[in-house]
């Protein structure tokens, strides 16, 4: 039997974006339709940082084929992307670039932290580490975390499916509850 994941309390990630009030008017059916459309056409930003980028490419390739979920359209320009997949270690020099890219993306936008480095520093975390941000949470609100070093392509697809469920439930990415 596989080890059971501890129901640890959520480590309070650095609150990056102030919470946005719930929308005042609810269009029940339209909201669901719009959320379903958003969930099924998540255009990721081509944004490989390190080793996980190769596994992200493998997911885009024929064997695992991300296009089956409508997410295979990798948009190079931040203006046309919906989800930013952090694939690899985030170095300190890359921090301002990531923040700028995140601001350039039109909302609703989501982010997936793929690989140990983007969750908690991964194999490069040691006391007094000077070169990397230990976790993508220091820069950007993260919606889905995928552990592994590097996570298998199936894990990234599972992560995207989790993100789709989250969107279908209607939670906007950058408006943290």
């Amino acid at each position: 039997m596989d080890p059971v994941r501890l129901p640890l309390p959520v480590v309070d990630a650095a609150p990056v974006v102030p919470a946005v009030a719930k929308p005042f008017v609810h269009f029940a059916v339209l909201d669901d339709l719009l959320n379903a459309a958003r969930a099924n056409s998540l255009w990721p930003l081509t944004f490989g940082l390190a080793c996980c980028a190769i596994e992200m490419m493998a997911v885009g390739a024929s064997k695992y084929d991300l296009d089956r979920f409508g997410a295979g359209v990798f948009r190079p320009s931040a203006r046309q992307a919906d989800v930013m997949i952090f694939a690899g270690t985030i170095s300190r020099k890359m921090g301002p670039v990531i923040k700028q890219l995140w601001d350039q993306m039109p909302s609703p936008k989501w982010s997936i932290a793929m690989g140990g480095c983007t969750i908690d520093g991964g194999p490069f975390k040691y006391p007094n580490q000077y070169a990397i941000y230990e976790g993508a949470d220091h820069l950007v609100p993260v919606d889905v975390y995928i552990p592994g070093c590097p996570p298998r392509p199936e894990a990234l697809i599972a992560g995207i499916l989790r993100l789709q469920e989250k969107i279908k439930k209607g939670e906007k990415g950058d408006a943290r509850p």
Binding site: A50, A58, A61, P76, T89, P96, V97, Y130, A131, C149
Partner: protein, 377 residues
């Protein structure tokens, strides 16, 4: 301390030129390379590669840890030849502390490293075509690459960043099924080469885009310390496996493919020929697989390295990867410098890219096959 993202763009000094920032996030910048180009129209006046966006402090970690605890870092320095780097670190320590490696382990290591080299060249071929605009060859290469990842997964357990080597051998033995699948893969990849040749090698658009583009003369290669397929495409047949044989490579006969043109097309042909040579090595290695142990029973942890300076070079998919170890006899290195090939190959770009078009820059940088964390360490 606020971290700025590198040189900011100002007005250029020359007339009718402007700075274009092929920034850290760019579809064909192989990770997080940033080219600060000064352009006149579409022609490049000066090009300054700005690196450091994937700096992860490997060398600082090496100085803070025992030798054994640095093993996971090695395959993450250049994750496209992860196996070659992982085995190279183990071989360096074995040479340093003169640890004996059983013959079967050596042959297994050679097969794994050559499979890793083919996989790296395949991925280079795919991304090179992607830079030139052809999308389909990229996906065909990934089909073949997935085959290699499956085979290596059977014995190392991971797909990309391996921790398969230990001081004195490897962690898991190879069974008959692995050997059969490797030979089947070699047969399959050999049937795929003519298809790639027809789809891409002879394609007139590809030839127009590559011939005569980004010529690196042997003199420039020597001045910048260029190594690997990029050097061999400029006519110098230097390959560490032949120049300073290590790990049993002298037992197998294989040629070192070279070309003299030194342009993108020559680099393409050298890498395709190199894949064929790696297949030959694998076939001979599988045929000559000796019986015997694959490594020490107990994990070798406490090392007694002699003091002084040591250098151990290996031929990675991108070129001459040298490890310089300064040891003071303790179980932790005083200094571990990793001389990575792409660092020098990319530094040569400052002269090679002058005067070329923007589209050629993408082709040339793509043709020298760089991996950013290997440059930034």
């Amino acid at each position: 301390m606020r971290q700025s993202a590198g040189p900011t763009l100002e007005r250029t000094d020359e007339a009718d030129t402007y700075y274009l920032n092929m920034g850290p996030q760019h579809p064909s910048m192989h990770g997080v390379l940033r080219l600060l180009l000064k352009l006149r129209g579409e022609e490049i006046v000066t090009c300054e590669p700005v690196i450091g966006y994937a700096h992860r402090a490997h060398e600082k970690m090496a100085e803070n840890r025992n030798y054994i605890m640095f093993i996971p870092n090695t395959s993450r320095v250049d994750y496209l030849s992860g196996m070659i780097y992982n085995i190279a670190f183990c071989q360096a320590i074995e040479k340093l502390c003169s640890i004996e490696v059983p013959e079967r382990a050596e042959v297994i290591r050679i097969i794994a490293c050559e499979l890793n080299r083919i996989q790296s060249h395949l991925l280079w071929f795919g991304t090179f075509l992607l830079d030139l605009g052809g999308i389909t060859p990229f996906l065909y290469c990934f089909d073949d690459r997935e085959e290699i990842l499956d085979i290596l997964d059977r014995v190392t357990g991971s797909r990309l960043t391996y921790a398969y080597g230990r001081f004195g051998g490897v962690t898991m033995d190879v069974d008959q099924d692995f050997l059969v699948r490797t030979l089947a893969f070699v047969k399959r990849i050999r049937s795929r080469f003519p298809m790639y040749e027809k789809l891409v090698g002879e394609n007139v658009i590809f030839r127009e885009r590559c011939e005569g583009v980004g010529v690196i003369t042997p003199e420039v290669a020597r001045q910048y310390g260029v190594s690997g397929p990029t050097l061999r495409a400029s006519g110098i047949g230097y390959d560490v496996r032949r120049a300073e044989p290590y790990g049993g490579y002298d037992r197998f006969d294989f040629e070192i493919p070279t070309r003299t043109a030194g342009d993108c097309m020559a680099r393409f042909e050298v890498r395709m020929a190199e894949m064929e040579q790696s297949c030959r090595i694998i076939e001979q290695a599988v045929a000559a697989m000796p019986e015997g142990p694959i490594g020490p029973k107990k994990l070798v942890q406490r090392l007694k390295p002699p003091e002084g300076m040591f250098y151990f070079a290996v031929e990675s998919a991108r070129g001459h990867f040298g490890q310089y170890i300064l040891s003071d006899g303790s179980n932790t290195p005083l200094k571990l410098k990793m001389r990575t090939p792409s660092f020098s190959n990319l530094s040569a770009m400052e002269t090679v890219l002058e005067g070329t078009m923007v589209a050629d820059t993408i082709a040339i940088v793509g043709s020298i096959d760089i991996v950013m964390p290997e440059i930034d360490r």
